[in-house]
């Protein structure tokens, strides 16, 4: 393949694999902007992947599978929201627990679905990819130019200020976290319906964690998230392409090593856009 063709092919594959990363990241950005950190993305993604695959197999309709996956992700996220917001428990551990549970549950219920090829799949570069880009732009507009955006960002920066002005902080956070779960579930669906139409146990292979890291790397900005998703999509792709020259296991390390680098670079860099100030801190409304 000539030079240009190679670059183009890489770009296309980057966009393809970047799609679930982007969806997941956008969801996580919305959740974290409201002040709730969701470490359950990996679990929600794999549950979404399984749900989508099973439903698509049973109904022959991948779109339905996608919808169910999103709903499953949202439901799991609501559990996380309940524990984190209403019960005001440790958000980090709640997310970790959900990921453990999700991975286990998917492994358990997914038994028997392995090795069954999916015939009705989604094309790789599809509406989902463009929808992702569109969603990123839409979220950017919402964040910085609408009423909802001010409310969301304020709830994540100083919920007491929003509360004192009559904003229902808990509701905003529930919605944001649910949105994050829906996006994570959909991202998982993309993996099992389009990218690698199949179900394998543990098929998310850590992508959920990378999504969380990219949210940080992108400074919680939807447009930067696009860049981050494309970058990591390319990285994942390269880790396959270069297998002819470098040991495959070493290549698989690449995205994770790169994530550490990205996190280090972000933290050491500018002090302008930091995390939402109330991120990870449970909010106690009024009555103490």
């Amino acid at each position: 393949m000539d030079e240009g063709g190679w670059v183009l092919a890489t770009a296309i594959r980057a966009m393809a694999l970047g799609t679930p990363i982007l969806w997941g990241t956008l969801g996580e950005i919305v959740a974290e902007r409201s002040g709730v950190i969701n470490l359950g993305v990996e679990g929600m993604m794999i549950l979404g992947a399984l749900a989508a695959f099973v439903v698509a197999q049973l109904t022959g309709q991948p779109a339905v599978g996608l919808g169910v996956a999103a709903a499953v992700g949202g439901a799991a996220a609501l559990l996380h929201a309940f524990v984190s917001i209403t019960l005001r428990a440790n958000q980090y551990v709640s997310g970790l627990a959900l990921t453990m549970f999700g991975l286990g549950l998917a492994g358990l219920l997914g038994r028997g679905w392995e090795g069954r090829p999916l015939l009705d799949t989604l094309p790789e570069i599809s509406a989902l990819t463009y929808a992702g880009l569109g969603l990123a732009a839409a979220l950017w507009a919402v964040f910085y130019h609408t009423r909802w955006g001010i409310v969301l960002r304020s709830v994540g920066e100083m919920p007491a200020a929003a509360d004192a002005l009559g904003v229902n902080v808990a509701l905003v956070r529930y919605l944001a976290v649910a949105f994050g779960g829906v996006m994570a579930g959909a991202a998982g669906a993309f993996l099992s319906l389009a990218y690698r139409p199949a179900w394998t146990e543990g098929m998310t292979a850590g992508m959920g964690w990378i999504v969380i890291a990219i949210a940080i790397f992108a400074a919680w900005d939807p447009l930067r998230a696009v860049a981050g998703a494309l970058l990591f999509g390319a990285l994942f792709h390269l880790s396959f392409r270069l297998q002819a020259w470098v040991a495959p296991e070493l290549l698989k390390m690449m995205p994770f090593a790169f994530t550490i680098l990205a996190l280090a670079a972000t933290a050491g860099g500018r002090r302008g856009q930091g995390a939402p100030e109330a991120l990870g801190v449970p909010y106690v409304t009024g009555e103490r």
Binding site: H145, T146, R147, W148, I150, V151, R153, S154, E157, M158, A160, A161, A162, D163, A164, L165, G166, V167, R271, E277, G286, E287
Partner: protein
Amino acid sequence: MIGVTAGQSPHASPEAGAPESAPLLALCAITKRFPGVVANDRVSLDVRAGEVHALLGENGAGKTTLVNVLYGLYQPDAGEIVVDGRRVRIRSPRDAIACGIGMVPQHFLLVRRHTVAENVALGLPQEGFLRPARRVERRIVELGTRYGLAADPRARIWELSPSEHQRVEILKALVRGARILVLDEPTSVLAPQEVGGLFEVLRRMKGDGHAVIFITHKLDEVEAIADRVTVLRRGRVVATMPAAGVSRRTLVQMMVGRDVQFVLPRAPAAPTGEALTAEALEADNDRGAPALRGLDLAVRRGEIVGLAGIAGNGQRELVEVLTGLRRATRGRVRVLGREVTNRTAAAICDAGVAHIPEDRVHMGVVATMTVAENLVLRRYRHPPFSRGPLLDYAAVTRFAREMIAAYEIATPAATTPVRALSGGNIQRLILARELAARPGVIVAAHPTYGLDVSATEHIHRLLLRRREEGAGVLLVSEDLDEILALADRVAVIFRGRIAAVLSVGEATRERVGLLMTGQAA
């Protein structure tokens, strides 16, 4: 200008005292209980349109609780709220705003990263969905001009000064149509001159028919701006009366229940030798911007130097540099003649510097650990508390018992977790820990903040005694009265430098006030 002049302006609004005008707002027999204490006990209060009503009481009297009930942050256990003759249920700030009640809290609730307009527009229901910040800009400018609250809608909160933050809070309330405005200790963040500006704003609002509830514990403010005053003590209303013609003595007696010594007797200063010296100090703040820009300050043994200044001019950073919690990028610090620049906090503590921190609950103690462990928090690595790598808990407990007795810390046991203690007792614990070893240097940052009069008196006596014993004390405080009462010399900090150091005789409120805002005196 500062309080003095404001008090000489004639009270406006003849309607304020008119007996026929029905109250705009009435709180009837409000009772609010917390575990162990009744914060508000059948409190009744009413405010008329065009009136400034002062709510006076010392710390812990229940003033903030009352207005939190009014604003819907707390639910009362008994009593009712009447607005414009109608009984209302205020279950949340949303209801309060709907009733026309606006609150300017003592600690501002502003998102630092956002602009003024975004903060004002937060949660504002309006026709448009898009660009809410722009839509509200016009209202901000309009209201700003009308009441003298100039604020640039596009400025980011972190760029503004505390008095500008206050204006934004007031604007937030006005934009939402508040007719009843509650201000909680509004002058605590203002320089003396800025107080006059605030009072002018309140007068204009009064003239426009707004009702203002003004919480304070400062008597001169009551004299200066209030039409009526209600005194709260220990959760109960002591009296409500017109502000004109009431003597300070009467007010204090009502607030505290007894006569209080305003100025403690003290021997004239006889400073000997160097205690704490800062030379040409430069340091950055948390955002990386310069906070100290070549600061020189000397505290001698046997004297108290008061550091006056508006919050945000480098006091915090100075205290942190002097106690080893922040790096100085340039300059030198000497303690008792020894160079300690940029040494660790532990080393500076060992050099004889006691630090009574500004944030006593979050920095001064570990709330989940015991009283005994907190009493050795700073010196645990020294014998007798430590032997090699091991801690000698028997010695720790012995020491704790001594301190509890000597400093009258009210606690069930030495093993009680500190979070069960009241604020005053936590401060006693901190003082016991810091002062017991007779340190040569004491850095006290806002030591009486949030404490009632008797606790404040106790702390002032302690500091004066140490001064007589030869310690050098740096007292950082926002309460100018406290500084003028205790200090031998007054240093004024402005923009990271010491603007001037005055002897207490030369330090009038006017001069200090001018220096605090950067004008030469």
